[in-house]
Symmetry: C2
Subunit: 233 residues, 2 copies
DNA sequence: CCTTTTCGAGAGCACCGCTCTCGTCTGAGA
DNA sequence: TCTCAGACGAGAGCGGTGCTCTCGAAAAGG
């Protein structure tokens, strides 16, 4: 029952890993669009058809990279939060947003893979749902911890019934319990964060907000207020 | 000096238009990634090499479609604003945001073309800058008109010098004069809008905020407050 | 009328994802 | 220990892509 019993098994695991790593390197350099199975095979000294013993299609290989990207950016957000105490929620919020942006800037093509235009024929398999949730859960978690400590100024937004129900569904799906109005504002902030990073990475700010550091700092501070966190100590 | 003197000239203009139109139709159906010169040529009953008499490359054809997309979404924002009086800035803001989202939902691939992942080797030519500015200028214009009527509660955000300078540069580039803090908040709202629409179109909300109408309404209202507009009459 | 320019067609190059076949080699059961 | 099914890599090939080059026809302009 060993994880790698025979030589063949070990070789298979090893090669699968190498293929993924080579693909990730090519993705980082060229972008998802130009990621080519043949090029990966060439770099590994094999013929392209041999790759199909390990990944049934290019989309499948891409799915693996998407999962890795979600885990990467989600892990960055989680680590940033864990490095700070729960009673400093504003600092946590700031650290998370900064870590997410830093990860995106360090891995722009991976960011584009998960938050940019989806690949045309591609449909997200079930396996991507959990990794994809890590970032929003991390953000919501910071707010929940702040709320538990009485550090969250809950906004008094009136929500229509439908939206309140959707917020409750999010609470259920994420397991992070928050007032509906806070959940909605948190999702707004999350999409703001993603939009801002997209603008920065995809060149929408070209010629105006470059570098975007000061703008990003300001936006994070505003969003921190927006979701009801207390000002920085 | 007539615009179309000879038969050849007329045919050229006509064919150029037809190629663009066919390409736009394919883009709408298949997405930019799958837009194929050969397929366009096939649909027009010509051979692929003949297209190169009209567009030097696929990227050039794509650039034309990008400009059209910018004009389409920018025009939608402008028309929505023009349909309402300047003394109802909140209604204008709401109408603009709604029009932008509606356009994006009606033309998802075009939206992805301009606000999604950029094409790898692609570099935005100068001709795209002006059309690309129409949306932010329309949004800023609503705030400027409100400000001129004394209807804007200017936020008292403290901005670092560098960011204030960038905001001033935006004012200069767009020709829309606003306090720096408002400009910054407007750009935050703009990126929020784009991020939210991306989430909706690209499937990030799948299974939670679908349909996103109520959420969108709430977000637009929050952003309206955020940029300093008075509540709806 | 004759020359220059423009145009469409066709062949071709290098690439792509993917499929199929065919020897080879491995490893598990008899 | 031997055998045979299954896993494997190589290779050829299919249909597709963007793009280049050449060639003959047609139009425009002198």
């Amino acid at each position: 029952m060993n994880a790698s019993r025979t030589a063949r098994d070990r070789a298979r695991v090893e090669l699968t890993r190498e293929i993924k790593e080579t693909a990730r390197r090519q993705l980082a350099v060229e972008g998802a669009q130009r990621l080519s199975l043949r090029a990966v095979a060439r770099e590994l000294g094999m013929v392209s058809s041999a790759l199909y013993r390990y990944f049934p299609s290019r989309d499948d290989l891409l799915t693996q990279l998407i999962i890795d990207a979600y885990d990467g950016i989600g892990g960055a957000a989680e680590q940033a939060a864990a490095a700070l105490p729960a009673d400093r929620p504003q600092a946590r919020w700031h650290a998370q947003c900064t870590a997410i942006r830093a990860w995106a800037r360090a891995n722009p093509h991976e960011f584009a893979l998960v938050y940019g235009t989806p690949v045309p024929g591609y449909e997200a398999p079930e396996d991507t749902v959990a990794p994809a949730s890590r970032v929003p859960i991390a953000l919501l978690g910071t707010l929940r911890d702040a709320d538990a400590l009485g550090l969250l100024a809950g906004p008094a937004d009136e929500l229509p019934a439908g939206l309140a129900a959707q917020a409750a569904a999010i609470t259920e799906a994420t397991g992070v319990s928050l007032p509906a109005a806070v959940t909605v504002r948190a999702v707004i902030a999350w999409s703001q964060l993603s939009g801002m990073i997209s603008f920065e990475l995809f060149g929408t700010f070209a010629g105006t907000l470059e570098p975007a550091d000061a703008f990003f700092e300001a936006a994070v501070a505003r969003m921190s207020d927006f979701v009801g966190l207390p000002p920085a100590a």
